[in-house]
Symmetry: C2
Subunit: 280 residues, 2 copies
């Protein structure tokens, strides 16, 4: 069932070749890489996800302990599994991969926006967020604090990059996401769709004139809005003015005088926490 | 006033030699490195701090624009300034330092605990936090959200490491900190000092039995405690049981089922936010 591969040139290992460059695959549709999961936790989450898994590879001992975990066997289906030694994997990947357990998957069809927001009560919407680590952290924090979906506006990095998958601890494979389809200059108009679906749209901004975050998530009687979308812009520029103008309210996390704004993923985590808190 | 140095072996550049190893200086007291600030924002914060600045070095253009900023000249005092070119700095530092502006300072005497907690209303206490990036992020977030001081229990990394200074954006040079002096096994007994000083001690834990964070920061009538100390343990093990037993209450940030705990600095940021929110 597990085939051992000794030759690093074996084409059955091609999914994992030169991993530091694996996010760019001119030979694949859209030039985008396969989805790569690293380590037992993330590989398990990939196997349990909607993503069509292609291969699992690993050091013999790592595969053995992985398959000994309860529930893994049922997740495997017909996935090909190859074992290989550490030096062979280092040659394939291009660097020493001490984790020693990896899986690849094809990119599935994008989820339709309607389906993603269908039953969602809390969503995050990103604009211009190009940092893979921030996107990964946001998926991790969103999952932890009950955010149902993440929606991508204009100018965001690909959430299926290897680094995002890793930093998210695999949550990007579980939490549904979708992209707005409009042009870079007009995507914010699609926010009206969410308003029609009953979402209260909240722009996060460091602007001192904005409402305190905790006030922005409840109505005038102190009741939390039934559905909330939290909009988050890039560190530095933040959300564009016209995007904020398409939302219901601007909210700030108060900061002490003379300090810097928070890291983006941290600010998002606080907003997710406040939303969850408002629903207690 | 600014002296140009062309020879990378010039001893006046020694403070900045092999920066990747500069945190270990067997030739200095305690074997600890000098304090190194990188980039204009952090160098400015170092100049404005209680730390005795030794030298400022930089590319000629970087120094020029730095000194053109309002207020910088007054902060300089008698600090030596040397300009050098990018290849010279790369030879000194051991890698290409594109920021091109650096400063060094001696480690000042530690602040006495009494002085650090004297006027503080909110403090964070760390135990077993060895990750420099987490410590740096905590100082950044603490400054942003009005935490007055950070106190170190047993087993924490040195807050004056180069990486901490950088990640904290220089806030480790501004926010007072102090170390508990007791033995590794008994330091938690010193927490009684804080209780005597009127602090309500709150242990952060992922334990489902713990109180919701927002309830733990207010008394039974909903009034925020006058002084609060937030205790934060390492990612993974968390606070030790006997440390938590020395505190007034255990508090959790609620997490969705089947998700991982938050990154340490993120959890701390949420606690800082909740404390600030309770004082509105």
């Amino acid at each position: 069932m597990v085939t051992h591969i000794a030759n690093s040139n074996d084409p059955r290992l091609d999914d994992f070749r030169n991993l530091n460059q694996s996010d760019n695959r001119p030979d694949l549709p859209g030039g985008k890489g396969l989805v790569i999961a690293e380590g037992p936790l993330v590989v398990e989450r990939l196997l349990a996800s909607r993503f069509p898994v292609r291969r699992v590879i690993g050091f013999p001992a790592k595969l053995e302990s992985f398959f000994a975990q309860p529930g893994i066997a049922q997740l495997m289906g017909g996935v090909e599994v190859y074992s290989l030694d550490r030096p062979t994997l280092a040659e394939v990947a291009g660097f020493d991969m001490h984790r020693g357990l990896l899986a690849s998957a094809d990119r599935p069809a994008a989820l339709p926006m309607d389906e993603v927001i269908g039953n969602a009560r809390t969503v995050a919407i990103l604009e211009g967020v190009g940092d893979h680590e921030n996107i990964g952290s946001m998926f991790r924090n969103a999952a932890g604090m009950g955010v149902d979906a993440i929606l991508f506006g204009n100018g965001c990095a690909d959430p299926l990059y290897r680094r995002v998958v890793r930093v998210s601890m695999g949550h990007v494979l579980r939490t549904p996401f979708a992209h707005f389809g409009g042009k870079s200059t007009t995507w914010h108009k699609e926010l009206a769709l969410l308003q029609e679906a009953g979402f209260h749209l909240v722009s996060l901004t460091p602007d001192h004139q904005a409402e305190h975050l905790s006030d922005a998530l409840v109505d005038s009687s102190g009741k939390p809005y039934e559905k909330v979308a939290l909009l988050i812009g890039a560190e530095g520029p933040g959300l564009r003015e016209r995007t904020m103008r398409s939302t219901n309210i601007r909210a700030r996390i108060p900061m002490a005088e003379g300090t810097d704004s928070l890291n983006l993923a941290t600010a998002a985590a606080i907003a997710f926490y406040e939303r969850q808190r408002s629903l207690r």
